[in-house]
Symmetry: D2
Subunit: 275 residues, 4 copies
C-alpha cells in the first residue's frame, strides 16, 4: 500500500516488530492471537513477546519457576507497603500497581539485573582465559569498585537460607542434566559463592535474586529483562496486597498508626522575621 | 511470643493473610514457597495469591486463556505509547511499566471491570425474577444512565469482529459443557448482545473486554480484579514494547516527529503589561 | 503556511491554546517567555497557564497563600512516606515525586476538590432561592448520600484547630473588604460550619482543605483544579522529604523497621497437594 | 515525654528535621505555618523547605525566575504528551501529573542536574589551579567519556537561540553586580560555551537547562535539586495541559490519530506450531 510522506514518517517513528494489527486481525510475532489463546501458556506468551518466538518446554518450565518464586515478600518490602498505602489514598488497583512497580528501581528491583551483569562478567573473564574462581574474584572486585559494597544476589538480611534459591537451582540442574541449558550461569554463581565463602570465612548463600538471575542468564535473557520479568512476577503480590487492603476500607493509611509520634530532629520553633 | 503494646499495634496495622514470612521460611496462603516452585503454574500462583487457594485445572486454564489474550494491542494504545516514550526519557523498565499501568484507569483499563459489574447486574435482575433479555435490557439502561453512553465490552472502534472474543467464548462453552463453570455470565453477555442487536439493528459483537469479563465472572472474581488481572496481562505487552524501544536508543521521543508542527489555537502574541 | 492533510490532522489532534513555540520563540498564552521571566511571580505564572491571562495582585496574593499553606504535613501522610520510601528504593527525585503525587487521589488529595464542589452546590441552592443555611444543610445531605460519611473540608483527626485555616480565611476576608473577591464561598463555608455545629452540638472547624477550597472558589477555579493546585503545593513537601531521605543513604526502607514483625492472619502452614 | 523502646525506634526510623507537627501546631524549619502564610512568597517557601531557612530577596528573585522559565515546552515534549494521554485514559489530574513527572528522568529532566555537575567539575578543576578555559575543556572531556556524547545545557535541537537563556543570564549578572551571588557558575558556563565555540567552529549557545543550572549553582543548590526544582516548575505546564485535555473529553487518546497506521517490521503471519 502507498503512503503519503507524512504518514510514512509516522509509521517509521512508531514502528514495531511485536504486533501486527489490522481490522479483525491481531498477530503477535506473526502468530494469530486466536491460535495462541488456549494453546500456549502465559509464560510461553511472555517469552514470545520478549524473544520473538515460542520457548521449548524446558525453557518455559524454568521461566515459570522464576515467575512463581518472586511474587511477593510481604509488607516489609517498600513496594508492597506502597501498594497498600496507595489503595488507602483512593487509588484503583492499576494506580496502586503503578506506584509499587515504580519502586522496583535499582535498589529494590534491580538486584536480579545486576546479578546477570555480574555473571556475564564472570563468564566473559573465564572465556578470556581465567580459571572460573579467578574470574569470579575479579568480577566481584570490579563490581564493588564500580557499584559499591552491595554485591547483588548473595546473602539476605532476613533469611539465613533463602528457601527459594535451592529449589530454583535444583530445577536448573535438572534442565542442565537434560541438555536444556548449558549450566554456565549456575557455575558462575557457584564460583562467586565459593569466593565469598573463602573471603568472608562463612557461607553467603545465593538469594532469590541470585538464583533467578541464574535462570534468566541460562535462558539467554539480557540483564535488563531480569528486572522486567521480576516486575511481572512481583506485580502479582502487589495486586494481591492492594486487593486485600481494598477490602479493609482504611482511609489514608500512613506507614505507622496515627497515634504514634515520629521524631522531629530540626530547629526549635521560632518567629518568621519581620520585613 | 509476647509483644509490647506498640509492637502489637503495628503488627495489627500491617497485618496480612497472604504471606507468612519468618527467617528462612516463606509461605503463601499457607503453602511453603519451595513446594510451590516447579509444582504450580504461574496462573495457578496468581489465583492462589488472589483467592486463597489453588484453582482446579479447568479454572486455571480459563484464567490462563484470559491472561494470554490481553497482553497487547499495539502502540496506538496510550499505555503502550507511554511505555515507549518513557523509555526514551531515560526510565528503566520498571518505571516505564509504572507509568503505563497508571494509564490503565477507568477509560483504558476499566472496561473489563465495568463489564463484570454489568453482568452482575443482569444476573441479579434475572435472579429477582426478570426474563434474561429483560434483565439485560434493564441493566443496559441502568448502566447508561449511571455511567454514560459507552457500554463496556461490546463493539470495537477498530475491529468489526474481535478475533480474541470468539476463541475465549468457545473455551468458556467447553468448560461449561464439562461442568467446570456455570455458564451464567456467558448467558448474560449473550443476552446483552441480543438486546443491542435488536436495538441497533446490527450486531455489536462482544470485544476482548466483554469476553474476558465473562471468564472473570464465571471464575468468581470480584469486578475490580478484572482490572487487576488485565493489568498483569497487559504488563507483558508493555514490557515487550518498552524493551523494543530500549534497543532503539532514541532520546526523548515525543508523540510525533519533531519536524511536525502541532496546532496552536490560542491568542496572538502580546506584550506582558508593564507594572 | 499550508499543510498536507495528514499534517493538519496531527496538528488538530495535538492542538493547544497554552503555548506557541517556534524556532527561537516561546510564548505562553500569547506572552513571550523572555518578557515573563523576571517580571511575573511564580504564582502569577501558574495562574496564567491555568486561566489564560495574568491575575490581579489580590488574586495572586490569595493563590500564593494557598500554595504556601499546603506544602507538607509530615511523614504520617502517605504521600510523604511514599516519597521517602521510594528514594530508599533507588528512585531519583522525579520518580519519588511521581509515586507520591499519584497517591494524592480522591481520599488523600481530593478533599479540596470535593469541598469546592460542595460550596458550589450550596451557592447553587442559595441562588435558586434557599436561605443560605438551608442551602448548606441540603448540600451536606446531598453530599453524604452521594459520597458517604466523610464531609470534606471540616474537622481534622489530628488538629482540634487547624492553624492554617484561620489565617487563610483572614486573608480572604481582607480581600473581600477590598472588593477583590465576592466572599460568597467564605459565606457558604461558614454556613456549613454553622449547620454542622448545630447538628453535632460542637464546632467542627474548617480544615486546610476547606479553607483553601474557599480561596480556590473565590478565585474562580474549577473544582478539579483545587486538586491540581494542591498537587503543585504538596509537591514542595514531597521534594523536601525525598531530598532529606536521599541524604540518609538508607537502602530499601519499608514502613516499619526490619526487626519488627507484622501480623499474619491467614491459614496455618500446609503442604501443596500432590497431583 | 517517654517512649517505649519500640516507639522510640519508630520515631528514629521516620525522623525528620523539616516539619514539627503536634495537635493544632504546625511548624516548618521552626517557623509556625500561620506566620508563614501571607508573609512569605511561594518560592521563599520552596527555599525554606529545601534549605532550612528563608532566602534573601535576591536569592528568592533568582529562584523565582528559574521557576517561571521552565514551566512548559509544549506537547512535543514526552512529559506533556504523557499528561494529555493519561487524562484521556481516565486519570485524574494528580495521576496524570504523576506519570508525566515520572518521565522527567535522566534524559528528559536530568539535563539541569547534569549541567550543575559539569559546572561543579569546571570550578573544582579551576580551584585546583587550571585556567578557567582549560578547566572547562577538561570537564567537557571527562563528561563525554563518562556519560556519552550529549553535553547537557548547551545547544537545542529546535531553538537556534533559546529565548529563555539570555534573560536568565542577565538576571544572574545583575545579581552578581549587586554582590548577591559570586558569578562563578556563570563564568564556568561561559567558559564551556567558549570551548565549544572554538572546537565546533560555531556558537553552541546555552539552553534553558544550562542557564537555569547556572542559577541553581549560584544559589548553592546541590545538583539533584536542579532536577527536583525543575519538576516543581514543569509540573505547572503538565497541569495546564492535563487540564486543557480534560476539557476536551477525548477518550483513550493515543499518540497518533486512530486512522493512521504505524509500521510493522516483524515476521510475516504464521501458524502456531501444533504440539
Amino acid at each position: 500500500m502507498t503512503h503519503s510522506p507524512e504518514r510514512t514518517a509516522i509509521a517509521d517513528y512508531w514502528s514495531t516488530a511485536i504486533c501486527n494489527i489490522a481490522p479483525s486481525r491481531i498477530a503477535f510475532r506473526g502468530y494469530p492471537i486466536e491460535q495462541l489463546i488456549g494453546a500456549v501458556s502465559f509464560p510461553a506468551m511472555i517469552w514470545l513477546m520478549l524473544r520473538g518466538d515460542l520457548p521449548t518446554p524446558a525453557q518455559e518450565a524454568l521461566l515459570e519457576a522464576a515467575l512463581v518464586a518472586s511474587v511477593d515478600h510481604g509488607p516489609h518490602a517498600p513496594s508492597i507497603a506502597i501498594a497498600r498505602m496507595s489503595v488507602s489514598c483512593g487509588l484503583p488497583l492499576n494506580g496502586a500497581m503503578a506506584s509499587a512497580l515504580n519502586a522496583l528501581d535499582d535498589v529494590h528491583g534491580g538486584a536480579g539485573e545486576q546479578a546477570v551483569e555480574l555473571y556475564d562478567d564472570v563468564l566473559a573473564r573465564a572465556d578470556a582465559g581465567l580459571a572460573l574462581d579467578d574470574a569470579a574474584a575479579a568480577a566481584i572486585d570490579a563490581f564493588i569498585v564500580a557499584k559499591g559494597a552491595y554485591l547483588p544476589g548473595f546473602g539476605h538480611r532476613f533469611h539465613p537460607v533463602d528457601p527459594r534459591s535451592g529449589r530454583l537451582l535444583d530445577l536448573v540442574e535438572n534442565a542442565r542434566s537434560e541438555g536444556a541449558v548449558s549450566g554456565s550461569y549456575a557455575e558462575a554463581a557457584r564460583a562467586i559463592e565459593r569466593v565469598l565463602h573463602c573471603r568472608k570465612g562463612k557461607l553467603i548463600p545465593m538469594n532469590i535474586d541470585g538464583a533467578s538471575a541464574v535462570i534468566y542468564g541460562e535462558l539467554g535473557f539480557a540483564a535488563p529483562l531480569a528486572r522486567g520479568i521480576f516486575c511481572l512476577s512481583r506485580a502479582v503480590g502487589i495486586l494481591a496486597h492492594a486487593w486485600e487492603q481494598t477490602g479493609r476500607k482504611e482511609r489514608n493509611k500512613g506507614p505507622i498508626p496515627r497515634s504514634f509520634a515520629y521524631g522531629y530532629t530540626g530547629v526549635a520553633t521560632r518567629d518568621v522575621p519581620q520585613p
